[in-house]
């Protein structure tokens, strides 16, 4: 459901910056069902990649072979991502707070002596800063949706309205957080993430229980349309192709 919801949200966008895992699934699903012209950009340098199966890694050979252009890694970041050319960037995280700030660095202990050391930032800080919009995809649980991050790896809305502008960040920030339970969007005034939609079969209290802070809920919470036959068929094809 997360991949399908994110794929639908890609309709109407020109380009998206793709990481591996769920974002890649969503972007490839979108290109097949919702937005055939969508330009997929991988940080490994593939611009306009058209993979036939889901890559396991962002450097999978097929990405380069099917791309409109392959450029160096410095060029991806400097000429393509940094100037704000890319519409949508996908991010995930081990921790997320109420303003959509993300932690992929460590959990527990201290930076110098972490309990769990995570992979680190990769391209996430720049994706968070420079894509016109950011979609976050995270499974929802109180361990992940926390009141305070152990480390700010990538900035969402910082401490709230106006903070991105003050930092000189030019993209709009995390306009949509897609979880396994529903969709959160920033409040237009405060930028605090607000539950606006639940997936079929999920109730609002389920979402509140899976959130480590007192989650705001929109006055009227919608329900995500169930997956269509086509979405499910294509999604199954993508996932099976990647495991063969």
């Amino acid at each position: 459901m997360m991949a399908i919801e994110a794929a639908r949200a890609l309709a109407g966008h020109v380009s998206c910056f793709v990481g591996i895992g769920l974002p890649s699934t969503a972007a490839n699903l979108a290109r097949r069902v919702h937005n055939p012209d969508l330009v997929l950009i991988y940080e490994s340098g593939a611009i306009g990649a058209k993979p036939s199966r889901l890559p396991l890694s962002i450097g999978d050979g097929e990405l380069g072979e099917t791309a409109d252009a392959v450029v160096s890694v410095p060029e991806v970041f400097n000429y393509w991502l940094q100037p704000g050319r890319i519409d949508v960037g996908f991010l995930s995280a081990a921790q997320l707070d109420r303003f959509g700030n993300l932690n992929t660095t460590f959990v527990g202990g201290s930076y110098a002596s972490p309990k769990v050391r995570l992979p680190g930032s990769g391209g996430a800080p720049e994706i968070a800063a420079s894509c016109r919009e950011v979609f976050v995809m995270v499974r929802q649980s109180p361990r992940t949706f926390v009141d305070a991050l152990d480390f700010v790896t990538s900035v969402g809305y910082g401490t709230g309205a106006g903070h991105r502008a003050a930092l000189g960040l030019r993209g709009a920030g995390p306009v949509r957080v897609v979880t396994d339970l529903g969709v959160l969007e920033p409040d237009p005034d405060t930028r605090e993430l607000t539950l606006t939609r639940v997936h079929p079969g999920v109730a609002v209290p389920d979402v509140l229980a899976a959130t480590g802070w007192d989650l705001r809920v929109a006055p009227s919470v919608g329900t995500t349309a169930p997956p269509t036959e086509q979405e499910l068929t294509v999604l199954r094809g993508l996932v099976e192709g990647s495991q063969s």
Partner: protein, 282 residues
């Protein structure tokens, strides 16, 4: 072997590592998922290098192995994981528990690392980028500062140039004069070689002539220190038009690296191999 002013020498892998990678060096084994110089990494382990500062945008299995083997005292990086699989358990064990030795971290973002190589390749002491604002990274990393635009007054991130003592990369081909050709996803390898004092390039094959190829990057012989023919030298990563990524090997490493015991067995098996016949990981 000589520095960049002369042509590259063709060497055996063991000799190349012995002469170019020295204890205490800052070493970059670059490769952005594609063309990772994995075999050269094993040779560094076999030769028991110590106190290395390992530099790489995306440390993966090869750095997990080097760290677990105790070759490194410091890691300069942006993303350290087993792509598509999960954690690097040897890296985590070093950072979380100091095993086999503590590991100092110098942590950047991808854009920061890429621009640090660009600055190194360009003979500049630093690079400017939009990055790090609002994150906790700058507070933990000395090589991130700020610079003010002299035209607009805007404050931007500055990162210190990277200048490895030696960069090791893998490429598809070299000719007999030592000109190197790589294609497909070319990552940051050109910058990493040009930023370094010395360089060692392992290649799938040495050919008489480098026929031009779409998307190919050529590193002229006079900026490369040594070239070693090492077929399969990027396994379990891939070399476009030679072999595919061995995704099973990446998954299998997870189990090997999870336990110190299994890793130690693996390490002993690597060290037992004869010079020049380091086995592939599997």
């Amino acid at each position: 072997m000589r520095t960049e002013r002369a042509l590259a020498e063709l060497v055996g892998l063991a000799d190349g590592v012995a002469e170019l990678v020295r204890d205490g060096d800052t070493v970059a084994l670059e490769g952005f998922t594609h063309l990772i110089p994995a075999r050269a990494g094993l040779e560094i382990i076999r030769q028991r290098r110590r106190d290395l500062t390992l530099v790489r945008m995306t440390p993966d299995l090869v750095y997990d192995q080097l760290i677990g083997a105790g070759c490194a005292r410091k890691l300069v990086f942006a993303w350290g994981g087993n792509p598509g699989v999960g954690s690097l358990h040897r890296l985590r064990d070093a950072v979380e528990n100091g095993w086999p030795a503590p590991l100092e971290l110098e942590e950047h973002s991808h854009a920061g690392m890429a621009n640090r190589y660009v600055a190194g390749a360009s003979g500049l002491p630093f690079a400017v980028l939009r990055g790090y604002q609002g994150t906790d990274l700058a507070g933990h990393t000395d090589t991130i500062r700020t610079v003010t635009c002299p035209f607009t007054g805007e404050e931007l991130a500055a990162v210190a140039a990277l200048r490895p003592d030696v960069t090791v990369i893998h490429a598809q081909r070299a000719d007999r004069r030592g000109n190197v050709q790589l294609w497909g996803l070319v990552g940051v390898q050109k910058e990493a070689v040009l930023a370094a004092s010395r360089s060692l390039v392992t290649v799938e094959e040495v050919v008489d002539e480098l026929e031009p190829r779409p998307g190919a990057v050529v590193l002229p012989s006079w900026v490369v220190t040594a070239v070693a023919e090492v077929p399969g030298g990027a396994r379990p990563s891939y070399a476009q038009d030679y072999y595919e990524r061995d995704n099973d090997a990446y998954r299998a490493w997870d189990a090997v690296s999870r336990s110190r015991e299994r890793f130690t067995e693996w390490l002993e098996s690597v060290r037992e191999r004869e010079r020049g016949s380091v086995r592939r990981l599997d």
